[in-house]
Amino acid sequence: MVTSEEIERVSKLMKIDIHDHREYVDKVHAMIDFFDVLDSAGVDSEEISMQEISISNLRKDEHVPFDENLIKNLNHYKGTYVRAPKMSS
């Protein structure tokens, strides 16, 4: 059973502000509790099958110039970089 504290902790890690606390915690609770049905599936010994994807068909690894106007439209574009908020000290 997942706890409200766990949901709040994960929300913070995922950078989701759960300002309307009940709207999020109660429903997330219900959703995760529903997943408990997986415990009855009896798949503990099952191997996880991976889909192999060929890497022979990858597109060429080459620089494709893009429309410069995209960069010019950025508000926080300074010279050759995009300005981000400062990291906490």
Binding site: Y24, I32, I48
Partner: protein, 481 residues
């Protein structure tokens, strides 16, 4: 001008010179202006559509080569990028995002002279099955506007059903094309995983989602699939289908085909009306010469939980890019510390997307992955094995697309688990990569019921043949709008 014609009829009418692309597109635009206030299928309308149609008419008149669509009006789900057009994903986060490139499916349709009438409504980031989670308000079911049209490609289904376009493209992660197709009485198709390029589709759950057409007829779906399928170097999960023609031989019928009736998809949650329609569909398939037998797929019981665990995990990762540094909106960085800035910016996500991101952080996390994410992957593996075994004995599988009739707006929105259950019959095709189609089959109290057929991987042609055969046994009433 008859806006109710199919895509193939449209092509025929243009080729015969009975209609012009300009007139047809202008009439379609007029209809959108008249009825879309009631339906809210469109989030944006292409104001240049008539001008583009005129260009195509010019090409036709001058004898130039014209693409297979001949100016056919098509609507596009708002999570597919059209260069220079807004692509909002029905989210405040991308409210002003203008796509800088075309999705592969858009490039292909442009090459075939399709005209995009506009971008259509959806649940935010395709997370939902009613369009009620659109940040710009829900769409309405044209059969009864008090009811949901299904989702997440609700706008696509509404626009085809209400004659606001001839065909549409949606995306199907757990039934998001087939569910609204069923609720709005149109054909909805989820191709074999990899048959259609996802390049330019805004990612939600890459490992299982596919772009698919919504049309008025199965033949139209085959026509659209011919145009959008095939290998794409920009999506290395695509498969080379050797330019298969899905339309040729579509009349082949289903005589002698073995069809499995999935027991777990006709359980307690199935409404009496849907159950009765399914029995009727089976009886008609048998009268066409198919051999129908019940089959059990034990893992279907766990498929919804596995589906939501896997998709939330992939969504949690995919949506990390919306940090207002890589993707986002105009919001000054002044006065914010790095983490608090990102958290503040991400408040533009709606509640359902936020909930799924939280779940997407929880279920694969250290200490929880064994109970949730890895178990979900194991269910997916076992379900895939079960269905592979089943297709050794059967050519096709049948089940209702949705176990219940369309429901009223607001009826289930506050109960996430009740909404989960609506997906029970559609997620199996996504989790196993199989192609699946919803065919309009019956009406009950003025609300549509769709029938779902599933085929083995790369058996899309066979699936369309069977769906066409079933469709031919059905006569449905005219839409009341």
């Amino acid at each position: 001008m008859n806006l109710k014609i199919s895509a193939l009829e449209y092509v025929q009418e243009i080729q015969n010179g009975n209609i012009s692309a300009e007139d047809y597109v202008a009439k379609t635009l007029e209809r959108i202006q008249i009825i879309d206030d009631k339906l809210h299928a469109f989030l944006s309308v292409n104001e240049k559509a008539v001008e583009q149609a005129q260009q195509i008419d010019k090409k036709i008149k001058s004898g130039d080569e014209v693409g297979a669509c001949f100016g056919m009006p098509i609507s596009i789900k708002d999570n597919l990028c059209i260069k220079g057009s807004k692509t909002t994903c029905a989210s405040k986060m991308l409210e002003d995002f203008v796509a800088p490139y075309d999705a592969t499916v858009i490039t292909k349709l442009k090459q075939q002279d399709a005209i995009f009438m506009g971008k259509v409504n959806m649940d935010e980031f395709a997370m939902g099955l009613t369009t009620e989670f659109s940040a710009f308000g829900p769409s309405s079911n044209p059969w009864n506007t008090d009811y949901v049209p299904g989702g997440s490609s609700g706008g696509s289904a509404v626009s085809v059903s209400a004659f606001e376009c001839v065909a549409s493209l949606g995306s199907d992660t757990g039934g998001s094309v087939r569910n609204p197709a069923s609720f709005c009485s149109v054909v909805g198709y989820k191709p074999t995983y990899g048959l259609v390029s996802r390049y330019g589709l805004i990612s939600y759950s890459n490992s299982i989602e596919q772009i698919g057409p919504l049309t008025r007829t199965v033949k139209d779906t085959a026509f659209m699939l011919n145009l959008i399928s095939g290998f794409d170097s920009n999506d290395n999960t695509t498969i080379n289908n050797q330019d298969q023609d899905y339309l040729s031989g579509i009349d082949s019928g289903i005589e002698g085909k073995k069809i499995g009736i999935i027991k777990e998809m006709l359980g307690d949650g199935t409404s009496a009306e849907v159950l009765s329609a399914t029995k009727e569909a089976i009886s008609r398939m048998e009268s066409l010469g198919a051999i129908c037998e019940e089959v059990s797929l034990d893992m279907v019981k766990y498929s919804v939980a596995a589906y939501y665990t896997i998709t939330a995990t992939e969504a949690g990762s995919n949506l990390a890019r919306y940090d207002n540094l890589r993707y986002g909106y105009d919001f000054s960085v002044e006065g914010y510390e790095f983490n608090s800035y990102i958290t503040k910016a991400r408040q533009k996500f709606g509640p359902e997307v936020s909930r799924r991101i939280i779940i997407g952080g929880f279920v694969p996390s250290s200490g929880q992955a064994g109970k949730y994410f890895l178990k979900a992957l194991k269910v997916k593996s076992k379900l895939t094995r079960e269905i592979s075994e089943t297709f050794k004995k059967f050519d096709l599988l049948i089940a209702p697309t949705v176990p219940v009739l369309p429901f009223k707006k607001g009826e289930k929105i506050d109960d996430p688990v009740a909404l989960f259950q609506v997906d029970i019959n559609t997620v199996t095709a996504n989790l196993t990569g199989r192609p699946s189609i919803s065919v309009p089959f019956a009406m009950s109290n003025g609300l549509p019921i769709g029938m779902q057929l599933i085929a083995d991987s790369n058996q899309d042609k066979l699936l369309l043949q069977a769906a066409h055969a079933l469709e031919q046994t059905v006569t449905l009433p005219e839409i009341p709008i």
